[in-house]
Chain length 380, copies 2
């Protein structure tokens, strides 16, 4: 009896503490659907979700790998909030009686292998990717049929604001790739690549450039013999995407005016593509990823990427900017594998730029900041 | 007792009938998320949805204004199907214990005032809007700041496949508007406007043209005096959108090379814009809507749209194609108001084209077909 009382008292006090801890300055998230008041975010970075589910027994907010219980009021409206989240964009879902569903209050984004809800925790540096009253480039959707994969594919192409009114001018190109379980909508969507470049170009901090954002998943058609289809993104990039872009857009079609970068899986892929094709690219950017992923072992330069980093001087001569970025809160294996890669670069005397995104993990805020940093160094 | 027996027997028989009526040839919908097997559609046009919701008490498929009960299996997976739906695209939701949520199996579309699920019932004429191996135009997203509304707005601009490789050539423009509770994503999304034009142009059935798809909702900033903000889409169209498009794209900037069309609310809006500005437009298309909506009363030509249709000969001289379309299954007030409008046109001796979309209602299949028909008559 006494124990029960203590337990109840403890729960009661704990409940009060929690309630008092939450700062009541919630505002609707900037990526809500038009007119939707929820989800909201407060100054601590807590997410408060709300959904009408009068017949439900259990509704949870599923964000950052944690499911937070929500509470029903007398009208059948469930409300609940998360612990503070890192600044920037996060994927999340609601869980209604065991069904994992998008929150009907938000716009939807492709990540974690699904179209689902997203939320934006305002960051102090949000101006770098905000939609501002500066000249805006176009983001153009290009459908194309791939002979290699025998399927329709799609890329988004950013052209800077001045592109349409300078019909004679040609532009350098950055090929920019998403991560695993994401697609070509990642960079122009939650990545805000167009806003980042619009703002940099308007401030004269980046050279006007074209950015091509394609889908990193590409497989040859399944053969009758079965087995896992071969991943052929490098082949699609070199033989289909680059020729198509050079044909349809006013590019400067040489290695000195072509950069390639990617995040996570895309960093891994684009490093291989870059180092295998130094006649095509002069700039590399790896955001939260390297091709030795997931290993943190010392890299054997004789064998790694067929010895691409064996001759440090040759790499320095050919790559104008070799750029790596990582969030300070990224989990293993990222710090370990990027660290091992940096050790190799240093041992080989290869010049590179290293950027750390403060207080962000393996998420879009790290990659927005990485693009913001990296783009300023290109084609100069 | 006897009555109860009859009732149970009747329900039992009815249950068997229903089960036997469903043709078991369901296939995943073409607008599912990558890799998602549900929802599915059968040859009757029934929609079968499925969702894991082990703790739920009641899950329903909410489509076409009807909520269909779904049934739980031993693994907590709910499955259920609708009555046959009309061919084409439909918005729908799932209802999990009273929560109306998007189906996690589909891509999401903006309509009915929300981002939500969509499903595609294959139509015999689906080739007109299918993504085919023909030259593909670009769909370009243009953000802009409106001085009139003091807000960021967005349009999508379709440029035909040949546009990028004919730097000297200029093109006519169709301004194409969505309906109520929809937005600028409607036509390039579920409307498949780009595919419709790609296919028509590849078959030499339509002149290569630019299509501009903007957002029909535009309000002046709320004044301190309160009250409902004024709707100013016409002002935005004339003073901001058209000048921006003529500046940024290679248009032929005269009335003979400018068409305007819209669906439902957009038909109503664009008819007003067209008739108020005959110095700007020479082609009009009204898909499932007219400016006398929702009235089916006889139109008074003296007062209707400030007498714009009073002089039939003048209208005939100025409008090269006056086009109206309607689905044969549309509910009132559409047939009534469009009918009253046609009566007025005929009384005034005004030439017009009238198209009926077979077996479709006030939905996107009617509007895809309307665009397919209308675009073939433009700029010839």
């Amino acid at each position: 009896m006494k124990n029960t009382f203590v337990l109840i008292a403890a729960l009661f006090i704990c409940g009060i503490c929690t309630a008092q801890d939450v700062v009541e300055d919630f505002k609707p998230s900037s990526v809500n659907q038009p007119g939707k008041q929820y989800p909201q975010v407060n100054s601590e970075g807590r997410v408060r979700a709300q959904i009408l589910a009068p017949e439900a027994n259990n509704v949870r907010l599923d964000i950052g790998g944690v499911k937070y219980e929500m509470v029903k009021d007398e009208n059948g409206v469930w409300t609940g909030e998360s612990e503070p989240q890192d600044v920037g964009f996060h994927y999340y879902q609601l869980n209604v009686d065991g069904a994992s569903v998008p929150d009907p209050g938000t716009k939807y984004f492709y990540g974690a292998g699904r179209w689902g809800s997203g939320i934006e925790i305002p960051a102090d540096d949000r101006n770098i990717y905000a939609l501002k009253d500066v000249p805006h480039g176009l983001v153009s959707e290009q459908n194309y049929f791939s002979e290699i994969t025998q399927s329709f594919r799609r890329c988004f192409v950013y052209t800077p604001a001045e592109y349409t009114n300078n019909p004679e001018k040609r532009y350098p190109v950055l090929y920019l790739q998403h991560g695993s379980f994401e697609d070509e909508t990642g960079w122009p969507g939650q990545g805000q690549a167009n806003c980042i470049l619009d703002n940099l170009i308007a401030a004269n901090k980046a050279v006007p450039m074209i950015i091509v954002m394609d889908n990193g998943y590409a497989y040859k058609p399944q053969t009758s013999g079965g087995g896992r289809p071969a991943m052929v993104f490098e082949e699609v990039m070199l033989n289909e995407i680059i020729p198509m872009i050079d044909n349809r857009f006013r590019t400067i079609a040489d290695r000195e005016h072509r950069a390639i970068a990617g995040l996570s899986m895309g960093a891994n892929q684009t490093m291989r593509i870059c180092m295998n094709n130094l006649d095509k690219f002069a700039y590399y950017g790896g955001f939260s990823g390297t091709s030795n992923y997931p290993s943190s072992d010392e890299i054997n330069v004789e064998t790694f990427l067929n010895g691409a980093f064996k001759n440090g001087k040759s790499v320095n001569d050919q790559i104008k900017v070799f750029w790596l970025g990582l969030g300070t809160k990224e989990p293993e294996p990222f710090p370990g594998s990027v660290g091992a890669f940096r050790n190799m670069l240093e041992k080989q005397g290869i010049d590179y730029v290293y950027y750390e995104s403060p207080e962000t993990a393996h998420e879009w805020q790290t990659w927005r900041r990485s693009l913001h940093q990296y783009a300023q160094l290109l084609f100069k």
